[in-house]
């Protein structure tokens, strides 16, 4: 099972107010030069289908509820990758009044991929790291290790 989880990471991408630079680089990682599909990565259409949630953007006030809802909708063992400097630390928007702070204030983040925007190969490295973390997780535990009902 761990082996299968390591070889079949399904991604769901969510934008929490980013400038779209990181989103473009994520989609660029599916192009022939970087080809995420060689790792088995598939960009899914529904959060329920995915294991890894890739979030870009500093978390704006309007998107906090959406992020938490989508995080709750991802099933089973899951991992979160924060793409770019924005979710790690709100980057250049540090003084903005409409932001709700870095992403790990709201959901547990496993891997941070720095860069503005990160290169697609850096994104793939981040996904590979998240996949390793995911493969060790058991189905019944939440992301930070506590037992779920």
């Amino acid at each position: 099972m761990c082996y299968s989880r390591r070889h079949s990471p399904w991604l769901f991408h969510m934008n929490s107010g980013s400038c779209n630079g990181c989103d473009i680089e994520l989609v660029a990682s599916l192009t022939p030069l970087y080809d995420a599909e060689q790792l088995g990565v598939c960009l899914q259409g529904s959060p329920r289908h995915a294991d890894i949630l890739c979030i870009t953007g500093p978390v704006t006030r309007n998107s906090v509820e959406a992020i938490k809802t989508v995080y709750g909708q991802v099933c089973g063992p899951k991992a979160v990758v924060a793409l770019g400097s924005c979710p790690a630390s709100t980057n250049v928007f540090i003084d903005s009044r409409v932001l709700e702070g870095p992403l790990n204030k709201h959901i547990p983040v496993d891997v941070f991929v720095p860069g503005c925007p990160p290169r697609p190969d850096a994104i793939l490295q981040g996904v590979a790291k998240a996949v390793e973390i995911l493969a060790e997780r058991r189905t019944n535990k939440a992301a930070n290790g506590e037992e779920l009902a």
């Binding site: 989880r5 599909e37 960009l43 289908h49 099933c75 189905t139």
Partner: protein
């Protein structure tokens, strides 16, 4: 035909045990062919197997009420009917087992689409509803062509039995029918250019949006078995019957694989049509097919 041989045919060969690896192989072939044509390296060989195992290990969201029970049951129904459709294929000539009937095969091939439509509506998500209504409209459109093709092939050879059809020599009507079936296959298998039901950019994941875990694994497996059954149908109708039994199995396999590759090429070549264009295409196709079929029948009748 007795119960044991029927069960053996359903579960072992060419039923579940044999068809499931073939389904995974066909799914991999399609993804790899699309990748290679796009100058990428595709997924590794065991990818659909890994996806299946991984999905079995995920938690499923709780469902409640009648809709919930329906959602849990539908993938099982879809899987059972596509496995049955595969079991009906006469891979081995004169093998006994199910007395394969073409109409039964078509009915069993329809059930997964119906289950998909029901799943989208019973999931009570807007994306599911839109996807299911698109799938329903598309299903009506391509089924006209599909059923016309099947009926014309059967009527031309005066038999609805798959084994009889497989053994009779081909006629122009059969080639026309096979061409029409091939045109319907992308819609049935949710490939470009008729993949409007699971258009990711527009409706997230379409009818299967709320599914997860082992239910999703079963849906994907049912989809893979649909591939096997549909390509097997085309291969049954196309393969020339050779006397040696293993050679005809090999030919069957080769032709099914060739159909998979052809479908991948069509999927990479074309873009997704929206629902209006897709339905218009199939209605025009039906018209063309009717004209050709009638005229060729008249022509043959006049000649003989």
């Amino acid at each position: 035909m007795n119960l044991t041989s029927a069960l053996a045919r359903l579960l072992i060969f060419p039923g579940l045990l044999f068809a499931v690896p073939i389904a995974w192989f066909f799914l991999w072939t399609e993804r790899k062919a699309v990748a290679v044509m796009q100058e990428r390296v595709g997924p590794p060989f065991m990818q659909p197997f890994f996806d299946f195992i991984k999905l079995m290990g995920k938690r499923v969201p709780e469902r409640s009420g009648i809709g919930g029970r329906l959602m849990k049951a539908l993938p099982l129904i879809a899987l059972a009917s596509s496995a049955g459709a595969v079991g009906l294929l006469p891979v081995l000539p004169a093998s006994g087992g199910f007395t394969g009937d073409l109409i039964l095969l078509i009915a069993l091939l329809e059930v997964p689409s119906m289950c998909l439509i029901a799943a989208g509506f019973s999931s009570r998500s807007i994306f599911g509803e839109i996807g299911s209504s698109r799938e329903a409209i598309l299903s009506v459109a391509y089924n006209v062509v599909f059923l016309l093709a099947i009926v014309s092939i059967a009527a031309a050879q005066h038999s609805f039995r798959l084994e009889t059809l497989a053994q009779l020599p081909a006629s122009p009507m059969r080639w026309l029918g096979v061409l029409a079936i091939f045109v319907c296959l992308p819609a049935k298998l949710h490939l470009n250019p008729f993949s409007v039901a699971n258009a990711e950019q527009e409706i997230y994941a379409g009818p299967l949006t709320e599914y997860a875990g082992h239910e999703l694994a079963l849906w994907n497996l049912a989809h893979g078995l649909e591939w096997v059954a549909a390509t097997g149908l085309v291969a049954t109708l196309v393969t020339p019957r050779v006397g040696i039994w293993w050679l005809s199995i090999v030919l069957f396999a080769v032709i099914a694989f060739a159909v998979v590759l052809l479908l991948s090429v069509v999927a990479t070549w074309t873009a997704r049509l929206n629902i209006d264009s897709a339905v218009r295409f199939y209605w025009r196709c039906a018209l063309v097919f009717i004209v050709l079929a009638l005229s060729s029948t008249l022509f043959l009748r006049l000649h003989s």
